[in-house]
Structure formats: C-alpha cells, structure tokens
Symmetry: D2
Subunit: 326 residues, 4 copies
C-alpha cells in the first residue's frame, strides 16, 4: 500500500479526492488537511464519502512523515507554495489548481506572478488522453487540468489537425464554482436560471491554446446552470478540407479507441450519464452547413478534478490507470 | 372590450395566453377550448392563472359567436386547420404554431405538406422588434415566432448587416418541450442534466434564415436544461470589418432604443431576470479573438410564446403594445 | 395616490414589496432604501420587478418627507429601531420582522430584549383572515406574520375549537432563508436534498401559541427544500369529538367562504399552484385513524411576506384589500 | 462466484440492482431482462451503471439455466407470477415489489387478490435491522420493503415499546415514482413544487402496522419533492412514560450500535448525505412539548430498494452483509 495525503480536503474537489483514495485498493489515505475545518471529521463534513479521518491543519513535515504522495486541492497561488513544500520533502504531487498547468508566461498573463516558477520545468499536464500518458508515468509533479478545459480538450483533440476555428460553449454545474458561499452560488440565484460569465476571456482558454496547435481561432464562454455536478462542452468547429460526417467520426474513433475513460457515442452525450464517474462521453457530427459539432460531457468533480487527479496518480505510481475509479 | 378566445388552452403556452388575456384591461376572455381537458375548469388545471372559465370542446361556430379574435395554441399541422376555420368566420388570429411562420417551400421542407397554404399570403411574422410592427398592425393573421427563434433573432438582428457566420447555442427550459409526458420530460431525466438535441438540424433555423439576410452561415443547437421557464441564446458571430466593442454595442443600442420589451444591458443577461415577464434582455460584446458574442434571455412561455402573441394581438387591435403585459 | 416607502428593499422580501407597490394602482412608491446596495438601481439588483428607482441609504427624515406609509423589511432587532423612527414621524408602518408580532414576554423569551417595547401596545398582528381585519383597518402599526406561521395558522385556524394536539411539518423554499450567502443556502448544499432544521424549537411556534387557543399541544419542524419560492404546512391534528370528514370540511368552508385570498380545495394543495400569487390554498380531510390532516400552500415571499404586507397596508389605508395583488 | 439475474432491469430500481450486482466482487451478473427495452444494451439505457449486457425478454427457463438467484423488480401483481416461476425452478429470490411483504389478508385489503398466495409462508420481510437478519439468512424468498416504509420503520423501530401515537411525514424524490412518464413526473409539474399525495391512506402504512406492535395510532402522508434520489421520514411520536432526550437517544444507540448501514447522528439527517449509498442516517430528539421527533434519511433507490435487496441477497447467500455495497 502506498500512502497518500490529501491537502485541502475541505473543498469539493479535495473532499472527493479523499473519498476516492480512501476507497482505492492500492492506496492508503494517511492524512487529510483543511485550514478552516481542521479538527472536524471528514465524514462529518462530507458524510457521503465516509472517510473516517480527522481534518488536520496543513503541515508539510507531518504530511511527509506519513505520505509518499499528495493530492493538493488549493486555490491557485496558495497551491504553488504548498506544492513546493511537499516536493522539497520528496513527495510526488498531483496539484489540482492552475498553478502548474501553464508556462510561466501564460500563467502570469492570466493569473499573477508565479510563486514557485522553479517547479514549472518538471510539471506535466495531467490529461493522459491527450498524449501525456508517458510523461505522466515518469513525472514527480502533475498539474490536473481545469474542468472546463478537460471537456473542451477532449472534444477538440481529435480535430486538432483540421480545426481552423472553434467556438466552445460550456455549461457547468455549481460545484465547479467551489464551496465558498457567494451571491452567485446562492440557491435562489442559481435555480431556474442560466448565467453566462467571464464572457470576454476565461483563463481556461489558456490551456486550450497550450494543448492545441497554433492557429486555431478560439472563443470560449462558460455558463453556470442549476445543476450540482456535471459539465458539457459544446464545440462548433470550422474545419479545413470539407470532411464528411464519417471522416469526423473516424477521427474520434481513432483518438479514443484505446481509452478506458472516454466513450465515443452515436448521439449527443448527457451530463447525467457520467455523474459520479470518471468517464467522458463524446460525440461528433456535422451540421447542415458543414460545421463540425463536437460534444463532451464529464462530471466536473470527477474527470474534471478529483477523478482525473487519481487517474494521474495511478500512472505516476505504476498502478493500473483505472484502479479505484470504477 | 374586445372579446378573445384561446383555442388550445390546455397546453402550457395556451394556458398562459388565457391567463394574460383574462388579466388584460381591454380584452375580455370569452372562451377557452381544449380537446383533452374539455369540461374541466381552467383554474383547476392551472390554478396560478386564476381563469374562472370552463374548458370547452373546440367548435369554430361557437367561438365565432363570442369572439372577435383568437389565439391558437395547437401543435403545428393541427393549427393550420383550426386557423382556417376561424379566419373563415372572420376572426383575427394569432397562431402560436409553426404553420404560418414560413414560406410554403420552407415549411414543407422542414415539416410536412401544408394544410392551409392559401392563408400564407396574409400571414405576418409576429416579431415586432424585427421591423414587422407596421405589418402586424394591419394583419388579420399573425404567426407567433418560435421561442428559440425569438431569442436568437433578437440577439442577431442588430448584427445582420455585418454578420458572416453565426453559431447559436440555445439553452432552454422544459416548458418549451410542451405538456406531454415523455421520457425526455420526466423529472429524473432532466434534473442535474444537460441534454443537447436535434444537433444536426433544428427546424427553428428556418426562421433565422427567413428573417436574416442571405449569406450568413448558421449553426444552431438547442440544449434542454433543468429549468422550468427560461431560454438563453448564446450567439458567436464572425463579423465583417473588424468592428470594435463600441461599434457592436452601438448597433444594439440603435436597434432597440425605442423597444419597450428589449433591454440592452451592460453584462450578460440571466434567464431568471426575465422569468414571468415579456421582456428580452440582450447584451453584446467582443472576445479576445475579435468574435462578437451576443446573448438574449427570454421567458420561453412569455416573450417566446404567449406574451409575444398578446403583444401581437395588441398591435392588430390598435391597443397599446404593452397593455396587459406588465 | 398615497406615497409609500420600502425600507430594506435589498432583501428578497423587501425587494418584492417594492415591486408590488410600484405596480399598485393607488400607491406611489417614493423611496426604496437598502444599506448594502445603496446607490444601485433597484431594477439592476432585481430586474424582474422593474422598479426604476435608486436604492438609498436609510434616513427617517428623508423618508418622512416623501412617504405617508412604509413597509419595513429588516431583520428582527434592527427593525424595531427603524419602525420607531418612522412612527415618531407619523408614518403608518407594516413591519415584516418578528419584532412586533408577539407580546414583550414571548418576544424576549425567543429573541432578545425588545428595542422598542413602547410600540407593542399599538401593534396589530397582520393576518386578516384570522379575525384581525377590523383591527388592521384601524392600526398605525401592523406586524406582518412569519411565513411559516401564516401557512400553519391558515391550516389550523378553522380547527381551533376542536384541536387538542397538532403536529406542523413545514416544507419551505430557500428564499425564506434570506439573501445572505451561507453554507446552508449554497446551491450544492440545497440541491437534491431535504434539510430539517431547528427541530427542538422554532421561534415561529410562538405565533401559533399566541393566535390559537391555549391548551393545544404543538410540534413544529421546518424542512428546507430545493425550491425557490413556496411553502407548505402539513398539519396533523387530533381533534375532540370525533368529527367526520364532512364536519371538518364544513369548518374550513365556514372559515374562508368570504376570504378572497384563501381557496378551500377538494384535494391537497401544491405550492407551485400559488407561486407568485398572494393566495393560500388549503385542504382538510380525515385519515383512516381519524386524525385531521390540514394542508396550506403559500408563496413564502407573497402571502408569507410581501404580498400579505401590502394586503395589510391596503386595509390600513382604506383601499380595497386585494388591490395591486392580482 | 454466484450467478445472479435481474428481472425487470429496465426500471429505476431494477437498473440499479444490475449495476450493484455487476460491481459486486462475489456475484456474477448473468442475465438482465426487461420487457419494453429488450434488445437494447443496459449501458445504453443507463450509461452510468456501465453494465455491459443486453436486456432480454424475460423467460424463466433461460434465466434458471444461468442464475442461482434473482432480484425481481416488477410492479406488484406482475411480480408474484414472475417470482413463482423462478421459485419453481429453484432460484433464491429477492422481490422488490409489495407482493410478498404482507399477509394475504393485509395484501388483499390494500392491493388486489394475491397471485401466488402459496409462497407467502416462505417469504421473509427484508429489513435486516428490524430483527429479521437470521430469518433472511435462511430464506429462499425475501420481500424487499417499500422505500417509505424502510425510512419510517428505521425511525420508529427503537421507539416501538414506548410509542403510542406516530405521525409519519414522508418527503420523497421522484425516482420513487418510477420510470413511467406521467403528468405527475413531468419536470414542469415537479420543479419548484411540493405535492402531498394519497393523504387519506397510503398502502405503505400496512408495512408499519405489520412490523410495529399493535396499538400505535399511525398517520402517514408522503409528499413528492423536486429531488431525484432521496427520502426523508420525519416522525412525530407521542411516547408513554415521559422519556427524557437522553432516554430516547439511548434507545437509538442500543438499536443500531452494531448496524453497519444505520448511523445514529447528533443532528437531523439530510438526504443529500446518503445519496448513492446504502446507508440510513437517523436522529432522535425531544421537542419542547415532550414529543419525540425521529428522522431517517435514505436514498430511496439504494437502502429503499436496490441496495437493500443486495444486502438481503448477501445474507441469503452467506456473504458478508455489506459486500458490494460500499
């Protein structure tokens, strides 16, 4: 058994990380930390995950004594320092924040000055299905992709060589907005409502720009919906070369034939069909005007955050990629 | 007082028509019909609308005795015959179905052979804000636009002279799918779910093609969401001539400055903000890549159906356009 | 036109008060105040209500210059002082908080020392249907009942002379919990959840004890549900004298025959049927064991708060009771 | 590996049975049947459960060739015949319908003439925590309790010797109403609504009468809520002997100390905390008037149906009770 700590286990993503690691047959969950809920039992705060541990104040030394690896689920910026502390003590780390996803230049354009730029060289982008699997296997530090980016990239990746222009319209559940109570996450504000936000430029587009070839014109707008867990990327792609519907579907089959967590399906996916799973369901077709429509549905907390982080950790630790995720 | 009948008052749209007419200061609701609920009181089936009338079997003669005008809320195809029966008896009609929105050619391409083609010549498309106000004033037969089309057209209309390519991503509430109980409208199927449908070609695109200039490449995908009433059109428009954000916003200001029911706002709209109103809230901006983003939020049952039908009826009857709609 | 101010128009209840007064044919809304949103337009914060006024810092002198009456929608304790300031300047007041609903003794048992006990003598409990109509007509200060209490009392009032024991199980929408963002109002906390709270003693039971005869044993538990607006009181009443179902229904018919806002119906009510109306729908029956079951459904923001406050104000000002509420 | 068939795997409860059996380490799912979906893959109809089998027409002989035991998830009445067919072929059966829960007399009072009364003698009521564990271990036919009854009985069982009168107010999610699309399960009918039903006598009360001592007066009203999965029983119990809060809590601790699937907690439970688990969370306290309040929260599809059926099957087959249910 390899011992794993979850740092930041009080938020939605970190709490689920703890739940998955706790149920994982080859991992032992040895510590869960949370700044504001320290002292409470994890299964009191999140009964559904049934993790029988007490949330502790974060302390890198005490974590290092008990864990070989850590999942860090902090907000960006706070994450960088926590990751450095754990990497200095030799732990393998999957970080769920944006801090190690981008180049320093791209990061500082969209976020703020980087707190641990010396680690960027070793960080690997943790989307195995985008050709990063081998790198992840050898990595000491993996950056878990954003939930919006994960869905968008899974929908666009098979089209990368023919796409010229892509509109990405994201529909996302409220858990993606985090546990903090704000006017935007108030039930009355969300129920029976559709709320587009960050219309003029969302940070997650930086991940798309990084992972896709240069020269694809991208638009990207997330919409907050009255759903709890679930995320849909609807992508409208203008492609070179007038591909047929069959051509497009063949690109998807080829891209994901061997992927355990990506199902290419014959109809548009529904987010409810992937709820509480690490699966992505993707579908591509052509509309009347010849535009490629590509959809990807994920659970933002699973394939979009905690599930994918454990998938990455499995690879880093030499375990079967899907262990603990079914 | 002008007397008005609502034909098909058992469905969601027709029921609301009855409610609005009942509360209208210059109209008297003299008959409500419904095939499957005939014999029941309207306020038993729809208590919230408080219409103290009994639903009758539809009978054009009996309606014509009591009403000067009618709102017809039947499914397409059934509507055409009902409208003919009423027009033959001299009633002014607003029809909420698709039957009189399109040319015969376009209609028969998307639907089926037309049941009353002789009436197409007199039918006017009932979106006053798209330059149809004067025609509606003089019309005997008005075709209420589809809910998806209403929102999409309100978002695209100010851009019609510069748009070259438009992706329309629709998010719609379940009441738009009608009162029939199906596996797609079952609560368990809809809750915590996002469901794209008719991805390869939705009939409502025909209304966009008709109302917008030729040569705009259109994609159009509706998504069913766990909301009751509400509809958002998110439009991604590639425009000629590299307009600035200010240029775009000026086009919207100009288009809707005098429109009572369209608010041009400084931020993206939310569907909850128009719930149970006849208003549309629209917003336009430019993203980083220079694409125009245009959003319109409406209540699909109000501005997308019953409210707009009464707005049209007000015009046809020489009443103030907004009477009974506040 | 009588001029009215709404004090505390930034919260859900106060915002709706402003909306109703704005649309009221005999009232003019002359001021809206809000501490935290002062300076913003009301229709920017609550677009749906379409109130074209700017929220002001509360100032009793400035309000008194412009208003003959005020609706005060503050949290309890803060309300007492605000009401005193307005009463000292001669305004008629409907207060929506708990501050003037109870005797000083009962208030101080459930809340805290009273801030304006000298006003308790003139305050009238604002539930017209419970025999308070004439008192309200002559009152200068009316205390709007709590939403839970309104529904429970409407269900229990016809049974008051035969009830010996009553269990009141309340199901309430989230808007009743107020606009403040907390972990309990976070969408993720509320969605797909049922949350009983204050099980061991809810303050609203004090209103029931006051309005009902002594000697009825009461239990009272509210449950928070994933609904926005709406409140159901399910009451299980053990009655003296083995009344028949017809006896019980006759009591309800008698109690509410002349009440415009209370519908006695033949089946259990549904909260959706009163959404955005000032109506209560009530139903009573007997179960197999002879227990009386009585249900009342209201919209917590309308009949449970703002609507009822305007109903009270209509009475105080000599206007038709239902004016502006349809 | 023991081989198990799920008969009626097209409905919500049966579909989940298949999902749980498929993931169970000691069971092999060898057949899934469904009348209306026969020929479709289970994972096409219910992608989330990832069961890679094709739904077959039900045929007892073909099932008996491949399975040692069966879970039957048919509506009542249809179930009795299906169970007889399987029992005649020697399979152990857990039936999820009402057909084998009650005595013939009670069954025929609430339902209809029994289709297989000869099997009633061998049927055991499948609520292990109510003292039925040993009987279930030796049984060939187990009747899975109703979802409402499961929650109500778990809340009332510890109080059985002191309860004199109990009001049971049930709040239930829509999946409990089954997969059939009706006007009552239409999203628009359920959303933002509370709907009490069968107020004058619900069949599930028969299970309470059977499992609890004679002489407790019972009232029982279910309410349909806008939640997908989840069920809360709020019980209001008048007890003999004026027990203290500590007395009551001790009864609950004693009753469930050794129960793996029942958590006695210090605060009222929330249905969201048991979603997609086989756990019940229960809580008891005393209110001001000395009434005992007891709450039980379950997931209606898990502990209220499919999860409990597998728990029963584990016992019948000599497997660890919780295997495959975590």
């Amino acid at each position: 058994m390899l011992s794993v700590a979850v740092v930041g286990a009080g938020g939605f993503g970190g709490a689920l990380c703890a739940g998955i690691v706790h149920g994982h047959p080859s991992l032992e969950l040895t510590a869960v930390t949370a700044r504001s809920d320290a002292g409470r039992r994890h299964d009191e705060v999140y009964p559904r995950y049934a993790v029988p541990l007490t949330l502790e104040e974060p302390d890198a030394d005490r974590i290092a004594e008990r864990a070989d690896a850590a999942l860090v689920a902090y907000p960006h910026r706070a994450a960088a320092q926590a990751v450095r502390d754990l990497r200095e003590r030799g732990l393998k780390v999957v970080d769920l924040s944006a801090d190690f996803r981008l180049s320093q230049e791209a990061y500082e354009r969209w976020y703020q000055p980087h707190e641990a730029p010396e680690l960027l060289g070793e960080a690997v982008y943790g989307l195995p299905e985008l050709g990063h699997r081998e790198e992840i296997r050898g990595a000491e530090l993996v950056a878990g992709p954003g939930c919006n980016s994960t869905a968008a990239l899974l929908a666009l990746w098979p089209l990368r060589d023919i796409a010229r222009d892509a509109v990405v319209d994201i529909k996302t559940g409220v858990s993606g907005a985090g546990r903090e109570a704000t006017s935007d996450t108030h039930f009355v504000s969300v129920a029976d409502n559709v709320n587009p936000y960050k219309t003029e430029g969302h940070r997650h587009v930086a991940e798309l720009q990084q992972e896709l070839p240069d020269g694809i014109r991208l638009s990207f707008v997330p919409h907050l919906l009255p759903i709890d867990q679930g995320l849909m990327a609807s992508c409208y792609v203008t492609a070179d070369g007038e591909p047929s519907r069959e051509d497009v579907q063949a690109l998807f089959e080829d891209a994901y034939r061997d992927e355990h967590f990506v199902d290419v399906i014959a109809d548009p996916p529904r987010t409810g069909d992937v709820r509480a799973t690490n699966r992505a369901r993707v579908h591509a077709t052509l509309d009347e005007g010849g535009r490629v429509l590509a959809f990807a549905a994920i659970d933002n907390l699973w394939k979009g955050a905690a599930g994918q982080a454990v998938q990455d950790l499995n690879l880093m630790l030499g375990l079967p990629e899907q262990e603990g995720l079914e």
